[in-house]
C-alpha cells in the first residue's frame, strides 16, 4: 500500500529541512574520516593569524604579525631559534610541529568582532587553519574564542585585557597568555600607595565598553582597598576623539588623581588633553596631582609622546626585562626587524610556541589533547619568569610589570621604564573570584 498523503506543504517542509542540513557550514559537519577539525593529513600544518591589519590598531597588529612570522621561522628551524633555546620545555626540535612544516595564513580583524569572526571562519573553513592566534581587543577575543569553541579549533588569544576573556566568557578551547585588568589593579596598588600615599581621591574616565568597565571595576577595587576614595567614575563613548569636556571638570571635583581607563587612540587623546589642561602641574588637596594609565603599550606610549613622562601604568611584558627568554626574543626580533618588539608581539610569539609545544607533548593536533597538555602547564624561558597556565580558567599567571613614562628617554624605544616587577603570587586570584564569576569553561570541542 502506498502512502498517498503527499501534500505540497509536506514537500516544502521536507525540502527546507534537507536544504538547511546541506547548507550547514562545513566546520559543523567535519568530514567523518577526520578525528577532529582540520586534521593535518599532508606534510604541513596551517596556523591562522588573525590580527588587526586595518583600523586604529593596525600598527599593533603589524607588530603581532611580525612576531608570529618569527615564531613560524623558529618552529621550522630557521633563524637563530629565538626562545626555543631558552624555553624550559624541550619538546620543540625546530622541525615544525610533529614533523610537519608550519605554514600560516592571515586574517584582518579590523578590531571589529564581526569582521574578526568572519576572517577566523574563513581561515578555518577555507584554509584549514588548526589554531587561531592574535588580536588586539577583548571584544574580538571573546567573539573569536566563541567561534573557535564551536568550530573545534584552539584559540590562543593575543592582546586581550578584559577580565571576561577568562572570566564569564571563558571557553575550553581558548587560552590567554596576556595579563588582565584584575592583575593590573593588584600590581599597581602597592606602587600607587608607595608613591602617592593611601589618602587619595581618584576620578575615573572609562571607555564605555566591556574592557573599560572591567578595568574600572578592578582598579576601583584595588585602590579602595588601599584606602583611596573614588570621587567619580565617568563613562566616555568609545568613538570620542576629544576629551576636553570630560577633563575640564576634574580639577574642581575634589580629586587629586585621574585614572584613564582608556586604550589606543582614546588613551593617547585623553592623556594629551589632560596634560593640556595642566593637571600634572596642579596641586589638589595639598598634594601634587597625578595621572594613572592602568594599561600601557609601547605603541600607545609612542603615540602619546612626551605626555606620558612620569605617568604610571602596567604592562604584560617589556623588552627591557633581563631574563634569558626576553633577551633571546628581543635579539631575534630586533636583528630581523630593526626595532624591539611590543608586548602584544611578545604574547603572540609566546602563544604560538606554547601551542606548538603542547601539540608535541600531546603527540597530536587534536584540540582535546592540546587542551590537556596546556592545562596546568608550568614553564619558564619565554619572558616574565616562571609561568603557569591555570587549568581552571585557561589564564596564564606570571610576573606583571609596573612601568612609568620615562622622564629622559635616550631613543625612540625606551619611552617606558620598569618601576617594579610584581611577583606572580601577588596577582593570583581564585577562579571563582566575583570579577570572574559566571560562565563555564565547558568541555573541549574537537569539532568532528
Amino acid at each position: 500500500m502506498t502512502n498517498k498523503n503527499v501534500t505540497r506543504r509536506g514537500v516544502l517542509k521536507s525540502g527546507a529541512v534537507a536544504g538547511s542540513g546541506l547548507a550547514l557550514p562545513t566546520i559543523f559537519t567535519a568530514s567523518s574520516a577526520a578525528a577532529f577539525t582540520n586534521e593535518p593529513t599532508g606534510s604541513s600544518v596551517t596556523l591562522g593569524f588573525n590580527v588587526p591589519q586595518t583600523g586604529p590598531y593596525a600598527e599593533e597588529g603589524n607588530d603581532e604579525l611580525l612576531a608570529q612570522q618569527l615564531a613560524v621561522e623558529h618552529l621550522n628551524g630557521e633563524g637563530d631559534g629565538g626562545c626555543l633555546n631558552t624555553f624550559s620545555s624541550k619538546a620543540l626540535k625546530g622541525n615544525g610541529i610533529l614533523g610537519k612544516k608550519v605554514e600560516f595564513v592571515t586574517g584582518d580583524t579590523q578590531t571589529k568582532s564581526d569582521a574578526a569572526r568572519a576572517s577566523a571562519k574563513s581561515m578555518i573553513e577555507k584554509d584549514g587553519a588548526i589554531m587561531i592566534n592574535g588580536g588586539s581587543s577583548s571584544g574580538v577575543a571573546v567573539a573569536v574564542q566563541g567561534l573557535c569553541q564551536e568550530a573545534g579549533v584552539i584559540f590562543m588569544a593575543g592582546l586581550t585585557h578584559a577580565n571576561d576573556t577568562t572570566g564569564k566568557d571563558k571557553k575550553a578551547n581558548g587560552f590567554r597568555h596576556f595579563f588582565n585588568a584584575y592583575m593590573s589593579g593588584a600590581a599597581l596598588a602597592p606602587v600607587l600607595a608607595a608613591e602617592m600615599g593611601k589618602e587619595r581621591r581618584a576620578y575615573h574616565l572609562t571607555a564605555d565598553y566591556n574592557w573599560g568597565w572591567t578595568q574600572e571595576e578592578s582598579i576601583v577595587a584595588s585602590t579602595e582597598a588601599l584606602g583611596w576614595e573614588t570621587v567619580n567614575t565617568v563613562k566616555t563613548p568609545l568613538a570620542s576623539t576629544d576629551f576636553s569636556s570630560y577633563i575640564a571638570p576634574v580639577l574642581n571635583s575634589g580629586a587629586d588623581v585621574l585614572v584613564l581607563n582608556h586604550y589606543g587612540g582614546n588613551m593617547v587623546n585623553s592623556l594629551t588633553n589632560a596634560i593640556q589642561f595642566g593637571l600634572l602641574d596642579k596641586v589638589a588637596n595639598g598634594k601634587d596631582f597625578k595621572i594613572v594609565v592602568p594599561l600601557y603599550s609601547e605603541l600607545m606610549a609612542a603615540g602619546a609622546g612626551e605626555n606620558i613622562k612620569g605617568v604610571l601604568g602596567s604592562m604584560n611584558w617589556n623588552w627591557q626585562l633581563q631574563d634569558e627568554g626576553t633577551k633571546a626574543f628581543v635579539k631575534s626580533f630586533g636583528e630581523k626587524y630593526g626595532k624591539p618588539p611590543s608586548n602584544s608581539a611578545q604574547t603572540c610569539y609566546a602563544q604560538v610556541l606554547l601551542y606548538a609545544d603542547a601539540v608535541e607533548r600531546a603527540g597530536t593536533f587534536n584540540p582535546c589533547g592540546v587542551v590537556e597538555a596546556l592545562e596546568d602547564f608550568e614553564f619558564d624561558g619565554l619572558g616574565n619568569g616562571p609561568t603557569w597556565y591555570r587549568g581552571a580558567d585557561h589564564q596564564c599567571f606570571k610576573d606583571v610589570l609596573v612601568v612609568r613614562g620615562n622622564e629622559n628617554p635616550t631613543n625612540a624605544y625606551d619611552t617606558l621604564e620598569i618601576v617594579e616587577i610584581t611577583p606572580r603570587a601577588q596577582v593570583e586570584y581564585d577562579p571563582e573570584h566575583p570579577m570572574f564569576a559566571g560562565g563555564e569553561l565547558g568541555k573541549c570541542n574537537p569539532g568532528a
Binding site: S244, A248, N273, Q276
Partner: protein
C-alpha cells in the same frame, strides 16, 4: 557658574573645528552643487601637512655614541637635526618648536593644489550626476586618501605639539574674579578658537568685500545669468573649491596639537560636519558657522556628569537629537534658503 563657562569654552573650541569644516562644505555645495564627502579627508591632509613639515624639520644625520648602547647592545645612534646643525642648536630647536604655526604657510599652497587637482581631476566629472553618485565617489576618494596617508605615516597617532610658549594652560577664572583653578584652560585651545574666528572672518570678508567674492556670490544665486554675462564662473568656482580645501586644511593643521593626528581623523569629523551643515541650512554660510558653534556647545554640555546621569547616553546622541528637533521645526535648517536641495 564656573562649570558653565568652562563647558561653553569647550564647546566653542569643538565648534571651531565643526564650523571650519562645515564652512568649506557649504562653500563647495553652494558654488558647485557637490556634496563632498571627501571634505573630512582634506581636514586630515591639513593635519598631516603639519606632521610632514615637522618630519622635514627633524631630518637628521646620525653619529655613533660609543658611551651609550641601543636595545641590541650596539653603540647608540644619536640623531642631530640638520636645522640645528645649520642654524645652531638654539635657533634650530626654536624652528622645530614652531613647526605647527610654520605649517600654516606650508599647508596653504599644498591644500590649494590638492583642492584644484581633486576638483579638476575627479569631481568636475560628477557635476551633472545625481547627488548619490557624488556622495559615493567622494566617499570613495576619502577612503583612498586616508589609506594613502596610512601607508606613509602608519596607523598610530603622531604628536604635533604646540610651541612651548603656547603650550600649558592659563587660569581664566582669576581674570574674571573666580577662585583660583576654577576655570583652567589650555592656551592652544584659545589660540585655535581665535584662529577659527580669524579664518571665518577672512572668508566672509573675501566674499563680501572683493569683486571676486561678489561674482562668486552672484554665481551662487544665479549661475546661468552670471555665465550669460560672459563671466567664466566655472573657473571661479574651481578656485572656491581650492579655498574651501585650504580652509579645511588649515583647520586640520591647527587641530593637531589638540589631538594627535591619525589617518582616520577626517572620518571622525565628517558625519558631524554634515549634520552641522544640515542644521545650519544647506547652502547657508552663516548657518554653517552658527550651527557649528551651537552644536559644539551643546555637545560639550551633554558630556557633563550631570547630563549623562540625568539622561544616560545623551552625550552620544545630542547632535542628532538637536538635528531632528531643528528639522522638524525648521525643515530648511536654522538659516536655510528656499529652493536649495528642494527641486
Amino acid at each position: 557658574m564656573d562649570a558653565i563657562l568652562l563647558q561653553i569654552l569647550n564647546g566653542l573650541d569643538k565648534g571651531s573645528a565643526y564650523a571650519l569644516i562645515a564652512l568649506g562644505l557649504t562653500l563647495i555645495f553652494g558654488t558647485l552643487g557637490v556634496v563632498n564627502f571627501a571634505h573630512g579627508a582634506l581636514f586630515m591632509i591639513g593635519a598631516f601637512c603639519a606632521v610632514t613639515l615637522q618630519k622635514l624639520l627633524n631630518l637628521s644625520f646620525e653619529t655613533l655614541d660609543e658611551t651609550q648602547k641601543d636595545f641590541l647592545g650596539n653603540p647608540l645612534k644619536v640623531e642631530t637635526p640638520y636645522v640645528e646643525y645649520w642654524f645652531g642648536p638654539e635657533v634650530g630647536a626654536t624652528i622645530i618648536d614652531w613647526s605647527v604655526p610654520l605649517a600654516i604657510l606650508f599647508a596653504i599652497p599644498v591644500m590649494l593644489l590638492v583642492g584644484y587637482v581633486m576638483e579638476r581631476g575627479l569631481i568636475k566629472h560628477f557635476y551633472k550626476r545625481p547627488h548619490a553618485d557624488q556622495i559615493l565617489v567622494t566617499f570613495g576618494l576619502a577612503i583612498v586618501l586616508q589609506e594613502i596617508v596610512k601607508y606613509f605615516f602608519g596607523a598610530n597617532p603622531i604628536q604635533t605639539p604646540p610651541p612651548d610658549a603656547l603650550s600649558g594652560s592659563v587660569d581664566l577664572g582669576i581674570m574674571v574674579g573666580f577662585d583660583p583653578n576654577a576655570i583652567i584652560y589650555p592656551i592652544w585651545r584659545l589660540v585655535y578658537f581665535g584662529f577659527a574666528v580669524g579664518i571665518i572672518g577672512a572668508v566672509f570678508s573675501f566674499l563680501q568685500f572683493t569683486t571676486f567674492g561678489m561674482v562668486v556670490r552672484a554665481g551662487m544665486a544665479d549661475r546661468e545669468t552670471v555665465g550669460l554675462l560672459g563671466i567664466n564662473i566655472d573657473r571661479r568656482f574651481t578656485i572656491m573649491f581650492g579655498i574651501a580645501a585650504a580652509v579645511a586644511g588649515l583647520a586640520g593643521v591647527m587641530y593637531g596639537p589638540l589631538n594627535p593626528p591619525n589617518y582616520h581623523m577626517g572620518m571622525d569629523f565628517l558625519v558631524l560636519s554634515f549634520v552641522v551643515v544640515v542644521v545650519g541650512g544647506m547652502g547657508s554660510l552663516p548657518g554653517a558657522v552658527l550651527a557649528g558653534f551651537l552644536l559644539g556647545i551643546l555637545e560639550s554640555f551633554a558630556s557633563t556628569t550631570w547630563a549623562t546621569t540625568t539622561i544616560p547616553g545623551i552625550n552620544q546622541i545630542i547632535i542628532y537629537l538637536v538635528a531632528i528637533i531643528v528639522l522638524l521645526t525648521r525643515p530648511r535648517g536654522l538659516m536655510g534658503r528656499k529652493g536649495v536641495m528642494e527641486e
